[in-house]
């Protein structure tokens, strides 16, 4: 049996399916008519991505302005260029992916999980290439502080990104939450790179990247919970 034969069988079988009842179509049309008014379509992807990127940059810079640019001041030119260009590219990619998650049927280049993996691996590679001091001091206590500061800044960045795309519709809220969390996490990491003067390799590799992972996980959990919450509300209605 060839592909063409299977196609024919499928087509014949589909043709024999029951037809949709005209009364059903009329009832659908009647249901939407009362609330039918002009709507403004969402802006192009680059505009929405730009908005998300602006939030990422604003949260990171505002946080660092408050806490101090100690890390940035301690870095050399190569470190600054490599770290912040990588973070910016990742934030733009995550923004594009977030727009894709919030618009049904739009073209996505990478999955939500893929975006998180790409972000983590890229940052691991850059940090591992730049920082070679494997001596550890106050590893857990200093790390926990960085993790907390990073996540505290990641939350508003993720929420504001969600707000930018509030008119969108996530067909998969868990994935959308994961990407929003990734954007927030990138803002948190950017803030830490600007502020944290601790250049011990293990501190940066583990605790700074943990901000990205924890934020993404939180985002996914909130997305999942939101889906259930919406369902419960619909059920009550």
């Amino acid at each position: 049996m060839r592909d063409g034969d299977i196609d024919e069988l499928l087509k014949n079988a589909a043709d024999q399916l029951p037809q949709v009842k005209p009364a059903l179509l009329k009832s659908v049309a009647d249901a939407i008519q009362p609330s039918l008014r002009p709507v403004r379509p969402l802006p192009p992807t680059w505009v929405l991505t730009g908005g998300v990127f602006l939030i990422y940059a604003t949260v990171a810079l505002a946080g660092a302005a408050r806490a101090g640019f100690n890390g940035f001041a301690k870095m050399d030119l190569l470190e600054r260029a490599l770290i912040f260009s990588t973070l910016s590219i990742l934030a733009w990619l995550a923004g594009t992916e977030f727009v894709h998650e919030m618009i049904p049927g739009s073209r996505g280049r990478i999955s939500a999980e893929g975006m998180l993996a790409l972000g983590s691996v890229a940052l691991l590679a850059v940090f591992a290439a730049l920082f070679h001091d494997y001596h550890t001091e106050h590893f857990v206590s200093a790390g926990l502080i960085c993790l907390a500061v990073g996540v505290v800044h990641a939350i508003p960045a993720a929420l504001l990104s969600w707000w930018i795309l509030r008119r969108g519709f996530a067909v998969n809220p868990q994935s959308a939450g994961l990407v929003a969390g990734t954007i927030g996490g990138l803002a948190g990491v950017a803030l830490l790179e600007l502020h944290c003067p601790n250049f011990q390799a293990m501190h940066i590799l583990i605790w700074h990247i943990a901000v990205l992972l924890v934020s993404a996980a939180l985002g996914a959990l909130i997305g999942r919970a939101q889906r259930r919450h919406i369902k419960a509300l619909r059920h009550l209605a």
Partner: protein, 213 residues
């Protein structure tokens, strides 16, 4: 924008303006994308034409996912209500079918999850295995889409329906399922392999194309 509908109205002097507009909007030259843009602008005739043109495809999609006709009716209604609520998320210039199918898919997944909660899993598995174990003559004669697609996984069935029944392109299917073209190709390839295996095992006759070769 002046559409063909207005010319038809003048040429044939049809008394009912809505009727004439609806007829012209059903014309295949009026693309779904054009209708969607007019629907977003609040044009009821365009909305009705969209409902008439897209619903049969969505209905087939739901029926092909082993749901009852009653469920398919509910799913279609729910899909249109959801489409209406989020119609602003369609952006002019983008293909419209993946947008509709992505929303329909979301509605179906919701329905499926709800069904899993309410129906015992054992019962569902029994139903599926019954379909898979159908005699070949039953498949050959009834041309039942459910029975044909029963050996496939949910995602393979979905992709095959969009591609072969709804006639969407690989790119459109990838957009609708939030995956890549490569992943869609792989699913279709595996689905065909499985279908071929099943049909050969059931002893279905070879098609004329193979008989010739």
């Amino acid at each position: 924008m002046l559409l063909n509908g207005e010319y038809i109205l003048q040429e044939h002097a049809v008394p009912d303006k809505n009727y004439a507009t609806n007829l012209s909007l059903m014309h295949p030259d009026i693309t779904l994308e054009m209708l969607m843009a007019r629907y977003q602008a609040g044009d009821f005739a365009a909305a009705t034409a969209l409902i008439d043109r897209i619903s049969p495809q969505l209905y087939r999609l739901f029926l092909g996912q082993i749901v009852s006709r009653l469920d398919a009716d509910d799913l279609l209604q729910e899909t249109w209500l959801r489409v209406h609520r989020v119609r602003h998320t369609y952006r002019p210039g983008e293909p419209v079918l993946p947008w509709f199918y992505a929303i329909a898919r979301h509605v179906r997944v919701d329905h499926y999850r709800k069904a899993i909660r309410t129906t015992s899993r054992e019962q569902r598995l029994e139903e599926v295995s019954e379909l898979a174990a159908m005699a070949p003559e039953q498949i050959g004669k009834s041309d039942d889409l459910d029975a044909l697609l029963a050996p496939l996984s949910e995602s393979q069935r979905e992709v095959l329906q969009m591609l072969k029944v709804a006639g969407m392109s690989l790119e459109e299917v990838a957009r609708a399922t939030s995956s890549t073209v490569g992943s869609v190709k792989q699913k279709v390839h595996r689905a065909y392999e499985k279908l071929r295996e099943t049909m050969n095992a059931m002893g279905l006759r070879k098609g004329p194309s193979e008989e010739k070769s």
